[in-house]
Amino acid sequence: MATIYVDDRPYEVDPAKNLLEECLSKGLDLPYFCWHPALGSVGACRQCAVKQYRDENDQRGRIVMACMTPAMDGARISIRDKDAVQFRAGIIELLMSNHPHDCPVCDEGGECHLQDMTVMTGHNYRGYRFGKRTFTNQQLGPFINHEMNRCITCYRCVRYYRDYAGGKDLDAFASHNHVYFGRHEDGALENEFSGNLVEICPTGVFTDKTLKQHYTRKWDLQTAPSVCAHCSLGCNTIAGERYGQLRRILNRYNAQVNGYFLCDRGRFGYGFVNGDRRLRQPRLLQDGESRPVSGAEALKRTALLLGRQSRVIGIGSPRASVEANFALRTLVGSRNFFSGMAPGEEHLVARMLHVLRGAGVRTPSLCEVESADAVLVLGEDVTQTAPLLALAIRQAVKQAPRRQAMQLRIPRWDDAALNEVMQQQKGPLYIATPAGTRLDEAATQCFRGAPDDVARLGFAVARALDATAPPVRGLSREERAAVQAIAGALRKAERPVVVSGSGCGSEAVVDAAAQVARALGGAGTANLCFTAAECNSFGLGLLNAMGTAEAFQRVADGLVDTVVVLENDLYRRVGRASVEAMLASAHVVAIDHSATDTVAGAEVAFPSGTFAETEGTMVNNEGRAQRFYQVFVPQGEVKPAWSWLGELAQAAGRTELTGLRSPDDLLAALGRAVAAFEGLPERVAGASFRVNGEKVPRLSPRASGRTAVSANVNVHEPKPPEDPDSPLAFTMEGYPQQPPSPLITRFWAPGWNSVQSLNKFQAEVGGALAGGDPGMRLIEPVANGAAAYTDEIPPAFRRRAGEFLVVPLHHIFGSDEQSAVAPAVAQRSPGPYAALSPEDAQTLGVQDGEFVEIELDGGMFQLPALLMSSMTVGVLGVPVGIGSLRGVDLPARSRCRRV
């Protein structure tokens, strides 16, 4: 700790930080542009000028950039000094000399850091009378809008895009006051994290193009804390609504999870909430025709199907909240509750949970992955299956070189100096997957092989780390060399992390990753990171559901009268024939937010709410239970799934769900029923929670149009909807100040309208939110058990003539069921294909784009061949969730021929 004096007041600060960070941490307002807590300082904008004095007798002082000056003990600075104030006003005036007269038509307006800083420095009138510099804009794809005239040349965008996110196709062009930030030519930004430019750019150069389709100012959006529903990482988001439509997703900072960033799937995948595939009315299937009916009629019909004497089973869903799944489980009984995950995935999730709750391993948060100094990725294409984990790994590879550079006594925040020393050096990152991944470019070494070979590599690394682990026989020379290199790097590292998951569908790979983590030892260090397929896969896994395949078996055996399917498109889980058999031989009641094929075939369908229209808890890959809150009241007869289940039970005269009338009730019951969830209900801010006796408003005090929005329908405005289920209110009334961290509905502070106001919500800039980051870890390893090695090591993959091992290939845009239908994401999604190595293509005699036929699960699929030079020979990759190939458990062997 050190003491600095700001305008003669002493402050206790951390000498490893710079003056700007510390001033902001202490709540002082100091304008800045180019510094960002995640990017560090470069001193490019000159906006954060303060006066520094040598000692208390120094009257003259000198102007320094706060972001480039360490917060050294005894430092004396002045923010209010006349010269400093004038200097900062001058800088803003310069920055504004070319700025267009755009605020009214600028999507950044009202949440613009440049506006805030201009007001803060007091620059009001334009003195510059000459021509303004202008630029032409570029088309940057469906996500990002470009309006280059508004640039103030702070360089944040390229520093983020290139240095932080590893993007290649955005750069600074030209020179002097002509510097241009864009691509070398028009085209979609390739990086998977391009959406963060919206929040990184302090001006309106890069704005959210999906928001533009239904533009709303920040102050008019009704917002609530939410959790991303598009992969297993559970990034925290703020979802905003206006006029009954979900209009944008913004990052919600959580130091332990997503920090400042989201991936493009999470940010732009919300379109499904407003889509025309939404189910808004219950439907009944009669004489092969589905027709909309009232809720009462649908309930009456269902009452017959769910009656006491009826044998009912329930199929849950990894994309439904734990509350909804638990409500179904309670209704049908735990012996009749099936997970609804694809059988392979379900098996892997159970396996991963088993490993993570055993001894010798611990799952890290994303933040901990970021600080790892050696990473081994086994079998997982993380950029596609758990995007933000890839971003974290890209930071992890900088740890080792940065640590070296910092030995030159360069502070952690001095980004330009560190980069100069580090150059392009990368710390150890080893990737072993069946096909090339986007992270390969950051890797020390990549290894290609079939899943079994990937697993063998892992097992061999474990053996090299610990001689008591079982050996792997028959490795090639190169493999042995790779194993030695990997083991050496992991052993040398202080915080090594192994990353794996269900992505390539192989249990051996999961086991191998666990084996490496155990061999690394060091109990208590976070060293094993798993990912699963969906947002609540782990939450569902913790509910100990029965296997999905068994549900189909029971129906086939004629032991079931009625199946209740919760938010699940079964066609994505098992083969078409199985689902059709189930639809034909049992009464199927589906509850879902969109009209999936399962809903179309169900006898009765009820419309449930999406993540934005309900409230619930999801458990992410770290085992972190996180609550998401309802953002708005949906149109039509849409209700939360748990609410429909309660009504179903009541209509059928069943008592299982009596007394469980809210998510709070369900969570409390869950905490009692399932040991893994013990303690969680007490930690969640439930419906009765109040801050100073008040609810937390979802609307900002500036929200407009209250007396006109519905005046065209009826001039007497309706009472605002009430929210009995959460501590948030659907109005602008309520606790006016900062709520506790899990209930942050928006980042805003007086004078700070942009996302930069986040500084005011953190205990210390760049650190945890004041009051702690939200979420509670449910998965912890047993404290002192012996870690046992498995010796089930698969034999090496052997090709068979004319036959391929078909493996799943994931896509950030297209593989996730919900985001895939969002218009912006759909534009970026690839079409169906069969990826082959060039050697195999030659053997088969196919060219790129020609069709091949594969046989899987009894079905024939014709797919255009895609030649992929990084594909393992003998392995064929098909995209997950894209095209007609659904419900097939992969990897699987298949014959393949040219058509």
Binding site: D102, G110, T134, S175, Y180, Y215, R217, W219, A711
Partner: protein, 171 residues
């Protein structure tokens, strides 16, 4: 006693004053152009809608009686897809006009907004939009703004230089 006499005297004097009562509605009072009555949306000198859907008027409105939705035309111009004022709530404070950066929304001297049915006081864009520039004849926002719209490319606004050639390093 004295004050009573004075009051009677004053009243007496008023008998000889010119009456100021106006025979409204037969006789219309004079209202200055800046009187704050019924609100209109104006057009720019080229005849296009002025409103760019910036939401500033609705934010400024203390009774929240303005609601709109911003949209973008294929030619790049922003406009309100709908624009609604609930005059049964409006207090004619003029804050919307003050907030408007394009001079689109203006209050007029027409104060005769009476109806038996409140619903009739809800005005949509069709009811608000007039065929002229109102009080500010010359102003055209798109001639000043940096946004390119059809008929005005980048660099063609007032006080703007031609777009930079990013491939050139010349000063």
């Amino acid at each position: 006693m004295l004050s009573m006499l004075r009051t009677i005297w004053t009243v007496l004097l008023h008998l000889f004053r010119r009456p100021i009562t106006v025979q409204y509605p037969e006789e219309k009072p004079y209202l200055p152009p800046r009187y704050r009555g019924r609100i209109i949306l104006s057009r720019d000198p080229d005849g296009d809608e002025r409103c760019v859907g910036c939401y500033l008027c609705s934010a400024a409105c203390p009774v929240d009686c303005i609601a709109l939705q911003a949209g973008e035309r294929p030619d790049g111009r922003r406009y309100p897809e709908f624009f609604r004022i609930n005059f049964s709530r409006c207090i004619f404070c003029g804050l919307c006009e003050e907030a408007c950066p394009t001079y689109a929304i203006q209050l007029t001297p027409d104060f005769e907004l009476c109806d038996y049915n409140r619903q009739n006081l809800v005005y949509e864009k069709e009811d608000l939009l007039i065929n002229g520039p109102g009080k500010y004849p010359g102003y055209n926002f798109y001639r000043v703004a940096g946004l390119a719209v059809s008929g005005k490319e980048k660099g063609a606004s007032e006080n703007e230089d031609k777009p930079v050639d990013v491939k050139s390093l010349l000063p």
